[in-house]
């Protein structure tokens, strides 16, 4: 049994990763509630943004900050573009079709990333990583703190936004009942666009953080979306508070498995296992699906 000392660095990394999972999870949940689209390209968008940032930081003379900003903005713009182009025509289809369509976006991005950047090993070091705290037995850097903080702040901020602003209320109305909301004169397309943009910005930020915390590799970052997905699913794609908690739990569990040497090789399974458990728990009441008819 590993000692408390052994656990400490993993608690830190776990919390940091958890913060990002929570951040991404919230982005996905809000988008899903507002548009019915579970964006499985969430990770790919962040990955590409991070690669663009890397390009700017390493291969141009522009200040690093520009790169980070571009990463976040890229996330927002690409996601918004997708939402505006492919949201309306698919709006009437079921959630599975909408989510599958986002896989199309994921492939396009994965192909583009592989083409432009290929699989060379890269790393991204945010300036915040260089500032660290010494907590006695373990080192914490500011990127990790930022990751956790951002997760918490965005969750609270989003919650407040949804409750207290008119745009947020419109989003909640859309999530509740799309058709009625449209008849109330709410500009549905604009509200949806806001949701797409917001979640896109979040994916850019998450991509940037993950590229530092985990590594800058297109495939890895793209499929890390699964951990965020696990958090969102535990929250039943509904509550962002639960998403926050779930994200942190997923991050912690994944990290804390590491010191147990016998199963540490399987630690990457943790988000999958948690997601599977969440899904099975969600489905414990069997429901006969409503007749879709053929029309």
């Amino acid at each position: 049994m590993p000692s408390w000392q052994d656990f400490q660095p993993f608690i830190i990394t776990g919390l940091a990763l958890g913060g990002v999972y929570a951040l991404s999870g919230v982005g996905m949940v809000v988008l899903y509630r507002a548009t019915g689209v579970l964006n499985l390209a969430f990770g790919a968008v962040g990955a590409m943004g991070a690669l663009i940032a890397w390009e700017i930081v390493n291969n141009t003379t522009w200040p690093d900050g520009v790169g980070y900003l571009v990463c976040v903005l890229f996330g927002g713009v690409i996601t918004l573009l997708y939402g505006v182009l492919f949201g309306p025509p698919l709006a009437a289809r079921d959630a599975l079709v909408k989510a599958t369509a986002t896989l199309g976006l994921a492939l396009i991005l994965l192909g583009a990333m592989s083409w432009i950047w290929s699989d060379k090993a890269r790393s991204m070091v945010l300036p915040t990583t260089n500032w660290s705290y010494d907590l006695g037995t373990v080192l914490v850097n500011w990127t990790q703190i930022l990751a956790l903080l951002l997760g918490i702040v965005v969750t609270i901020g989003t919650g407040a936004f949804l409750r207290y602003t008119s745009l947020g209320t419109a989003m909640r109305a859309l999530a509740n009942d799309r058709e009625i909301t449209a008849t109330l004169g709410v500009p549905v397309r604009r509200v949806e666009a806001a949701a797409w943009l917001g979640s896109g910005l979040i994916s850019g930020a998450a991509g940037l953080l993950l590229s530092n915390l985990v590594g800058l590799d297109a495939a890895t970052l793209t499929f890390l979306v699964i951990s965020s997905l696990a958090a969102a699913l535990i929250a039943r794609l509904e509550s962002i508070t639960v998403t926050l908690i779930a994200g942190i739990v997923v991050g912690l569990v994944t990290a804390l498995v590491t010191p147990f040497l016998s199963i540490s090789q399987y630690r990457d399974m943790a988000p999958f296992v948690l997601a599977i458990v969440a899904l099975l728990f969600l489905s414990r009441h069997r429901v006969v699906s409503v007749s879709r008819g053929a029309h």
Partner: protein
């Protein structure tokens, strides 16, 4: 998935119209051509490619059945393929069993695993089912990264890091060289295709059609929905497992990087593009997945272009033709025939691994 109304001949009744007879005739001729002279005519590079096409067409057939017949989306079929390869390798290295037994074992083993997994998953539907297949595939991939594939080593996992001697999964004695193995694979493919056809035209096919359109109507007609969904899962897993066996003997040595998560999504894309309402779509899918990259490689173009193309393909299919491109099948076939003709005439590219 939404269904469309198309004037297609109704399934079953085994009655053959003249149109059916002509089609069957053409298909038989094509098959005989592909089976007998073609493997001898091609360079070893293209023989390798076509064997790969055969394997992935079978995998695509499994997904085609799941999506087109029962409306279930699986995002993890490549992980199932890996399982099939694992089981096949395990059986192959366990003793001198004849190859058909290895294939059958791979199919049955994967079927059992697929069904066990499918059982709880089937309470979910639509999006959640797709997600759980993604999760399960991810878990299997992680496990495989650690256990690796059997390669003659000791114990249940049968894997050893000691690569001296380096045994490969053995091919059947009657089909050791590449062209012979291609023929073998095609024959297996034909058998599996017929198995799928037999299902689709019979009782399971009717039940699946009912389930896809309206579960209440299916229930009211007496269809045990869980059973038939499970049956579809089992069939798709069996097909994919056998394909895994074929793949194992094709490449000889198995590595986890050959079964990436991205491939599962690419498979989804090509199956959609090939068309999910006709079993032929699976062959188109196999060609997209393994033939086109070889062609592009031949022309010096990056395979990433195809990844992007397939991404666009998913969007196009979902936006416009929910039935997949099977309606445009004849048109695409002509284009493909042209591509094949041109590619075969070009000088062969150097040997490349899977």
């Amino acid at each position: 998935m939404a269904t469309t109304t198309r004037a297609r001949p109704g399934l079953s009744l085994g009655r053959w119209s003249s149109g059916d007879a002509v089609r069957a005739g053409i298909i038989t001729v094509l098959l005989l051509f592909v089976l007998i002279p073609l493997p001898g005519m091609l360079s070893s590079y293209w023989v390798d490619v076509l064997t790969s096409v055969t394997v992935y067409s079978i995998v695509a057939l499994g997904l085609n059945l799941l999506m087109g017949r029962v409306g279930l989306v699986s995002l993890g079929q490549i992980a199932v393929l890996a399982l099939g390869s694992w089981v096949a390798a395990r059986i192959a290295f366990a003793g001198g069993l004849p190859f058909p037994i290895v294939l059958l074992g791979a199919g049955l083993g994967t079927m059992v695993l697929g069904t066990l997994v499918g059982l709880p998953a089937l309470r979910l539907s639509g999006l959640y089912l797709a997600l759980i297949t993604l999760m399960l595939a991810g878990a299997i991939t992680v496990a495989l990264r650690t256990t690796n594939f059997p390669n003659g080593g000791p114990g249940f996992l049968g894997h050893t890091e000691d690569v001296r001697g380096n045994p490969a999964v053995r091919r059947p004695d009657i089909a050791v060289n590449d062209p012979a193995y291609l023929r073998y694979a095609i024959v297996v493919g034909i058998i599996l295709f017929l198995l799928a056809l037999w299902h689709v035209r019979g009782r399971p096919g009717r039940a699946w059609a009912a389930i896809r359109q309206s579960e209440p109507a299916a229930l009211a007609a007496g269809v045990n929905i869980t059973l038939y969904k499970l049956w579809a899962f089992a069939l798709a897993s069996f097909l994919t497992g056998v394909a895994g066996g074929l793949l194992a003997a094709h490449v000889g040595k198995l590595y986890t990087y050959q079964f990436s998560t991205q491939d599962s999504i690419l498979l989804l894309a090509v199956v959609l593009m090939g068309g999910i309402y006709s079993l032929w779509g699976a062959i188109v899918a196999g060609l997209f997945m393994r033939f086109l990259p070889a062609v592009l490689d031949n022309w010096g173009l990056p395979a990433d272009l195809l990844t992007i193309l397939f991404g666009v393909g998913i969007l196009q299919v979902l936006l416009t033709a929910p039935g997949g491109l099977s309606q445009q099948f004849p048109r695409d076939m002509k284009k493909l025939a042209g591509l094949i003709a041109r590619a075969v005439r070009r000088p062969a590219a150097p040997e490349r691994s899977e």
